[in-house]
Symmetry: D2
Subunit: 367 residues, 4 copies
């Protein structure tokens, strides 16, 4: 069952985290994954070997934003954050030790291109990494001759599935993250929250559900047409069935988005144009779970798989973490299907809405 | 029941049609419709009175592309085409008289801004108009100070619902239209066909269904972001429930599209970037009805309402035309739901496809 | 000296021309030209051999839009137009024979992929070709996997330099072209004119200057960002010195444009978003040569080389045609430099304008 | 003469600056300025009175990003930065007092919407402001119904003209800014430097020239087409002569840009798509002053006025600050005209370059 006891805040200071830096993904077929991330999405290969491929986006100057490692079970091996200095790696180790978490330190890093790092299984059960030392590589921002029409310029954020969102938020705030937006209902149930270190809408988000699992990893493009091109290309390659949701405009974050599925079913978001959140008093945006524009500003339906499917995460020995069920209400249940309802206009009550033909097709689409 | 006897080709020459020029729409609340077409979509008012509003797109130099006329029942009063010369209006009248159609001639036009015109109820039951004389107005292409972020530059095409698509096609070919693309199945059932006079993919299309009805009227933008802006604006205005389908990329026509519903439920498409079709040997593109990318290149589901809902059309006295049921197979039935199937890859058979999880959600989404 | 006697209109009908179809360019280094047109611009190679490369744009279904042929002198071997039927090739031959022009007929075509064709040296001294028979190839519009970020979708138009613009216009009107826009002055001097067969602003334009010469050949993209990407890529390849003019917005045509120079100095325009011109009474747009927004809507200066440089054209034996000087006023002289003036606002007279600081830098930039 | 003695670093800590927050501009005709910033650029009026107009961008939640104040002489009254907390305003005051700068404190702020602030004349002679307390207003990011086609989403940066760039940089680094890019030559002359607090390429830049003066204030858009629309609109309004430079792609910052002039000649940049610079070891990009792509990646010429013209800045009593001449080499002189040279390819030496025809027109354009 889910542990709902609050996570204590350590006496030692939290590490000073700069940003989400890279994800280490375990994939079952390296060649198929290379087709997806390199041939389709155009990520740049920094280095590769028989075991792993190291990829980066066009604006990046650190060694990689994504590691694809060959393994028996598709899963996430690490959510890796960069900290402000070498000392902050020590701070991270001390912080999680005091939390009683399992930690592992590697002076030479756990992957190529990264130096002294610490990996931990955090109180929510996720494999988190913290590092500062990293190999610099060419920032390809000016190398337009290498950019595809759907160029990914930056790793933007992670998204994690966890059963108890408020508990996760308090813990992440202790770790120094700030909430920028959330989804809840009038009874106080929290369904999801977005939190940041760098001044964008998020470095990671907590999505309520059975967890710990990885919901998606997101890369940013410069413009919306770059994302549309990825859809067009997937159509041309006859893999449109790997487009799970979108493209669309998020309510939360106000960004333009697309969700696609890699060969192992790992979800990747392509994302662009959220807003600056760097001021301490940045206004937090609260969304009603019944607002039909919260997850798609255009009111397009969220496909059920987007709520139910997610990737396993691994412990420090590489074994899948057990999944704990969410005991709070599910966003899927309260918004879609027989028991669910959503509105387009806050004024509309459930009744009027069932009578609304123009709304009907949207609902019908979700049943 | 539907008349399936072929429509004869008259002995007199067909009128030389230039292009679809404007639609006369009957709306039940002129003020609400003005909000939609002027405030939301940014069409320019050429002239208006208590009874009607005359609207045009930014590249247009003729008096209007759309007439909104106040009336008791939402419907289409005319699909109006411009012909090459004043004489061609006579040709049109003679052509439809020989077909035994009801025709009406007005030297001063049936609406403001248009001169000598003939209106007919064509063999498919649609109110068609043909004119040449028209009042010129300023082409606003250079008036960027008047353009909205979602500027509509041109009337692109009509789309008509008719029970017997092959019969309609043969008739339209007699009238001088050329087929550019169609959707059919291996048993020879035709579900829809696109046909043009100007060298784009279409001036009108025939969609199989209960008819005669108007499926939609389409305006073109310059770029895709213009269409995305219209969606964003509808979200901001909290009328996202009037976005019926899209935005997306069509398979047919290769254009980028959006379908929205006006206050009376008249369907409007916003459309951009199809291709030149002006050569006599322009290759006709045939789509398999089971190809899941035919109507949305990204494989996103077509909402059922898009297949079932359409607008009434009027006879020359302003009374709604009776609806005849389609007796051939329905695209909705053969592609969606228990009996339907679609594939992403021609290789996939129905079986393999049911086993395909990643495909499941797309289907599930349509059930 | 220039022949200013009007060109008679033949008694036989002019051929029914569909559109500009391809240009045959002579280049001095096939490998370098391939780098430019294939590696940089992303045109698709239909076929190539040691002597020539046949290229097409993404929307094209005929064999090619551009032939690069290896030769000793950079020049244009043919401006090739497609006619409506095989018979129209005969009509073209008869038409130019009656004009007393040298004509040559080849049942197998003059280049690969093209059938029965006639080539002529037209009354203005340009090598024109007319054909109908052509090999069909795959239209790559849906092949997004093959599209670059700067994808060229269509051959849009040619642009020719000729000493006497009014004389050229009367001749082209006889050949069935319609004027859409022109540039002249209050004294009646014509500096340039745009004329079309397909319903865009032009299939070719006549630019006043020493001729016959080829000013540029233009390809269309779908959106403006495609053109900006080509600039960015040329910067990345460190060939920004091959960007001659733009990107910018034309006054004439209202299209977005860029002019770049191939390795032989042949000028290529990348162009998008002009307007429909297919109605017989399409309003002709007249521009004052002194209107500083006529050639760049943003008032950015036209570099002198754009007015003075152009490509040689060949006779039917492959020898360069002699150049005749323009005797009328030059657009360069009347708009730039000591004797020239331009205004941003029609109200401004030359005097006020010299005193206008904000105008000064624009002028200064042109001196 | 210019003071070239290094500026000492105070013993007290520098204030923790978040970002550039707003500029207070003195304009001579409030109505004309309103036309420019509100009607043309679409900035939102938070509040206005007979004396001043307070404007903000669509993503902003603080009271304003720009104040237009009516005054006798066009100038800049304040470059205003937001600090992390109320205490940091005290820190700023102490910091500049120790530097011996004139400082003024106002608990109620110097302008509407802003609370406790300190204004100083900094060691370079610029009027700087620091504040934390501010009135929150609606963030209009989701209000697409209010966005123009050229929507400005964020204040991006300032740009200052100062005679001694290295001296200015050392001082700004003491104040906590980090250099991201610079322009220098092989002899060590520094011509310009970009420096940031928020993790973009800059919050302000130091441009070498006679100063203290304000070179420009920059606002960001989401996409490039938004900037192109502003150009198109200025053409439609027949004020294209207020487009000073661009649009283009910067080498420095890799951003897409446009420079326009307001009615008083204050220069405004519209800017989009630079890159994340938030890591402490973010690589500094050094540009050679002779690299012709440093300021325009496409090699388009920088108009002389862009180097020579700038706005006055005021002292704390509202009187224009005296201008000190730059004694180091001028970027204009070393790159343009008889003594200057630039190259497109680092390989090219000055000699080869004069022989390069394709380069000739670019140079000719600059003479």
């Amino acid at each position: 069952m889910t542990d709902s006891t609050p996570i204590p805040t350590p006496s030692v200071p939290a590490p000073d985290i700069l940003r989400c830096a890279y994800m280490e993904l375990v994939v079952t077929d390296l060649a198929k994954s290379r087709e997806f991330y390199v041939d389709l999405l155009g990520l740049t290969v920094t280095v590769e070997d028989d075991d792993a491929i190291y990829l980066r986006s066009t604006d990046e100057f650190i060694h990689h934003n994504l590691v694809l490692r060959k393994g028996p079970v598709a899963a996430v091996a690490a959510f890796s954050y960069r900290v402000r200095s070498a000392e902050e790696v020590d701070a991270a180790e001390a912080y999680f030790k005091e939390l009683g978490c399992e930690t592992r330190r590697s002076k030479d890093g756990f992957v190529r291109g990264i130096g002294d790092s610490v990996r931990v299984i955090d109180p929510l059960g996720f494999p988190y990494e913290f590092f500062y030392e990293v190999e610099h590589v060419e920032r390809l921002a000016w190398r337009y001759d290498l950019h595809s029409a759907g160029a990914l310029v930056r790793l933007d954020h992670f998204n994690q599935v966890t059963p108890d969102v408020p508990r996760a938020c308090r813990y992440m705030e202790g770790l120094g993250f700030r909430i920028t937006e959330d989804i809840s209902d009038s009874e106080g149930t929290e369904y999801a929250a977005w939190m940041r270190r760098k001044p964008t809408v998020h470095d990671t988000a907590m999505t309520g559900g059975n967890g710990p699992r990885m919901h998606h990893v997101a890369f940013a493009t410069h413009e919306k047409h770059n994302i549309l091109y990825i859809c067009d290309k997937m159509g041309a390659l006859r893999i449109s069935d790997r487009i799970e949701r979108g493209p669309g405009r998020h309510g939360v974050s106000n960004a333009f988005y697309l969700y696609i599925l890699d060969p192992d079913g790992h979800r990747v978001e392509i994302y662009t144009q959220d807003y600056y959140t760097g001021d301490p008093d940045n206004p937090v945006v609260h969304w009603d779970v019944h607002d039909n524009q919260r997850r798609d500003w255009w009111g397009n339906p969220v496909v059920p798989s987007w709520y139910t499917e997610a990737s396993l995460v691994l412990d420090l020995d590489g074994n899948p973490q057990p999944i704990h069920d969410r005991e709070h209400k599910s966003e899927l249940d309260v918004t879609i299907g027989a028991d669910g309802f959503s509105y387009t206009r806050a004024g509309d009550d459930e009744g009027s809405y069932h009578g609304e033909a123009s709304k009907g097709f949207k609902l019908g689409n979700q049943l």
